[in-house]
């Protein structure tokens, strides 16, 4: 009994030490999104090309919402993946042109190719705040009802697509339709 009592603080110490040790190596960049399982924020905005756009223009099926900017180098890294997904018709991709200039955004799409069904022009970052965005690139998975189901912060390359998005999409598809 007294031996057990002696070990309690020792066990406690090691439990705390392991907890804190793990904490040191936690992914620090990625904050959990508050908008998971919430509907897309309402918007009445314009596309990068200048056409009016609202929630009604969003795809009726599951789609990706990709936050990008012409200043954003990682966006160029994930660009081939978005191009492939869009060209192969895997999933529609909607863009949010975040804190950018319209002319630079148009040039960027001309130079690199446009994988987006359309890009919402969010020059002052106001729509980004409603989404809880803190920097490009970020990619949201939105279901056919316009509900945000998943968020990935930073580059969406083929590996992330395989390991994170495909399982998430499969899980959503497996859900019974209501």
């Amino acid at each position: 009994m007294s031996k057990l009592k002696f070990y309690i603080p020792v066990i406690g110490f090691f439990a705390l030490a392991i907890l804190l040790w793990r904490g040191l190596y936690l992914e620090q960049g990625e904050l959990p999104s508050m908008l998971i399982d919430k509907p897309m924020p309402q918007f009445v905005m314009s596309t990068v090309e200048g056409a009016p756009v609202t929630n009604a223009d969003l795809p009726d099926e599951m789609f990706l919402l990709n936050v990008w900017g012409s200043y954003c180098l990682p966006c160029l890294v994930e660009h081939p993946t978005l191009m492939r997904l869009s060209e192969e018709g895997t999933i529609p991709v909607v863009g949010v042109n975040y804190r950018d200039r319209q002319d630079l955004a148009i040039d960027w799409l001309d130079d690199n190719g446009d994988p987006f069904a359309f890009s919402i022009l969010d020059e002052d970052g106001r729509f980004g705040i409603d989404l809880g965005v803190y920097g490009a690139p970020e990619t949201y998975l939105v279901d056919g009802d316009g509900v945000i189901r998943y968020r990935h912060v930073s580059v969406l390359d083929e590996v992330i697509w395989e390991n994170e998005f495909l399982p998430a999409i499969a899980e959503l598809r497996a859900e019974p339709a209501n």
Binding site: Q28, L31, S33, L35, R99, D124, G128, I129, G132, G135
Partner: protein, 181 residues
Amino acid sequence: MKSILFLTSNKSDSRNGPGWQSSKLLSCFSVVFFAVAILQLSDAQAAVDTFAFDTEEQQQRFRRLSDELRCPMCQNTNLTGSTGGVAEDLRREVHRMIMEGMTDEEIEQFMFERYGDFIFYRPRLRAETLLLWFGPLVFLLIGAAAGFGIWRRARQQENSAPQLDVNQQEKLRDLLGQKDS
């Protein structure tokens, strides 16, 4: 960092060239450097101060909120101290909401709905943050309980020292006396 590199490179010059010339050069450079540094400082300050308010109270609320809200992009700075894009936008939103007459609670709720507990340097008291708030207190109580237990046991042992009656004491003295002789 810049200044350190700058000054050391000038110091190495002084070893090669005539002393007076390079020291003059050095002081000239430092004047320029400090002027630039001060300009940059006032520039950074200006980024925070370009908002206009109707009352002193609104301005103070703005200061308090941007001091207590954390920049989501650069997680170790508040909105006041951050030059990050999203911090700039959030300062603008805080200003807008204050001018629209929203209360501090409403503004904090706005931030919470979008960025969660991370936006606050002092997280709200919720089921998820209970451990964060009261964890240290729990540890303190565990420590205090353990300390009290140890103290009580020590005192019990003190009290349980055998009480001897007169006969026993005499016997004890005899025994000790025998040992002495």
